[in-house]
Subunit: 287 residues, 2 copies
């Protein structure tokens, strides 16, 4: 599988630079097929992994073990749960020993079930259920690591839930098209709207973020890129500078988390959870 | 009172530019006295307004009526509630008719009750209780307007609560010192940390924000300034360019709210409130 070969090559580059943990994009094993209005069940099924690691991803896990560099990988997951096949947009976290540490299933599924007039075709809600594992945080070499996928990054609740679950580092995989048919007037803001909620998420929750994007042309669709590593100060510490295969690295100072908390974010002292009930009660404003 | 004269003069400038609504800073009638370790009860009491409008602020309300330009004004409120005197860091919203529409009491009170070693003296928690009116939204000429004060802007819950309560416009008053004794390494980020959570708040909640700061020297302390008007796209649409008395204006296109919602933020469709319970249950991460 060509994709796995590319991922292994990127992991080798990361390890050679001293990286101890890597993150790959959302749906890194296949094309971003929600851009297509597919109706052939067999064709659709071909995009999902029914096991992890499977025959191909085992090669990536083997590379991680050899390189002593764990990774997070986005893929389309098919699983039998409760007597039926369920499909999730998933990210797996693999340790330095090449073993699966845990998985996250994308909580916020954007787009629609069917094409909607005047908008870019984006059928994630046809191909995936919203995740059913909450916002888990895993131990990776003593560091608490959370995962998020693409649209999740736009919602402040993603970051806050990961923060309250104790995350110090959040790994994000994403796929974002450059074009935006539904609002041409906002098209120039695509990269700003990529980085803004992540920079705020890092700052407001005092976490390090490493976000990995597909970039460049995929099946004729231009993808945004803009992969970055963001400090708990909200600053972009490292930023991709191409739309090709590219490795960026940064040595994350975890002590900066406590420094940032000291300035503004002593959560236990200042937050007022009982005043936020509506956030967990109501999806949108009343009409 | 010199402060009220300055405010009236600024309101006149705003009205002359066609402004229909103005916002003044937090604690606009007095100095930002939480920078002082005060123990004289009479001296402390002198900083609070026990009625609104009072003799001085009535002059400002009269000006609003004459100019047909309402305003939000931050002030220190002293009120007898439940048989005792309570003190809040408050913002009043006044209509074009000069009448009080409603008030907001700052929900997130930063700082401490007593000076803490190694940090800038900031005793807001001595002088004010956390607000007890939630995150109200008021009708101002058919537009739904929410209010927030200073530290509130750093918490994503402030913006989300106002969004869920239906806000289209949020008026913010703030006082932020330039210096940051507790983290010199972050000192260069003061303006970035001012704008970042507001730009994200505007974007993630599709609201217009107008934020008004004290600026320049006040009793020897340099205040940050950076007053701005932010679009629901997260873009800064207007920005103060001085640390003196300065009026900035912008004609806010409320239709942009629906455009921004269409792109990413159909709240009712995509948010997952039942998955966010922890946000309203736990103040900080478990140790």
């Amino acid at each position: 599988m060509e994709a796995v070969d590319r991922l292994i090559h990127l992991l080798e580059q990361a390890a050679a630079r001293g990286a101890e943990l890597a993150v790959f994009p959302e749906m890194a094993l296949t094309t971003f097929f929600p851009r297509w209005n597919l109706n052939d069940d067999a064709e659709i099924a071909g995009y999902y992994e029914s096991q992890f690691p499977g025959p191909q991803t085992q090669l990536l896990c083997d590379a991680a073990r050899k390189l002593k560099t764990g990774f997070a990988l986005g893929y389309s997951e098919s699983v039998e749960e409760g007597g039926r096949v369920r499909r999730f947009n998933t990210m797996a976290l693999v340790g330095q020993d090449g073993e699966l540490i845990g998985r996250y299933r994308k909580m916020h599924i954007p787009g629609s079930e069917s094409p909607e007039e005047g908008t870019t075709v984006h059928l994630e809600r046809r191909y995936f259920e919203p995740g059913n594992l909450g916002f888990p945080v895993f131990a990776y070499r003593g560091v608490r690591v959370g995962l998020a996928l693409c649209n999740d990054r736009r919602w402040p609740e993603t970051w806050r839930m990961l923060c309250l679950n104790g995350a110090q580092v959040v790994l994000v995989g994403y796929n974002t098209p450059v074009l935006l048919d539904e609002a041409p007037a906002l098209a120039h803001l695509r990269m700003f709207h990529n980085h803004l909620p992540m920079q705020a998420g890092a700052y407001q929750n005092t976490v390090w973020i490493a976000a990995s994007a597909k970039a460049g042309l995929e099946e004729g669709q231009a993808l945004l890129g803009g992969s970055c590593i963001i400090a708990p100060s909200g600053e972009i510490a490292s930023l991709a500078s191409s739309v090709g295969d590219e490795v960026i690295t940064h040595r994350a100072d975890l002590d900066l988390i406590a420094t940032c908390q000291r300035v503004n974010f002593d959560f236990a002292r200042y937050r007022r959870p009982s005043e936020y009930a509506l956030i967990s009660e109501r999806a949108g404003p009343l009409e």
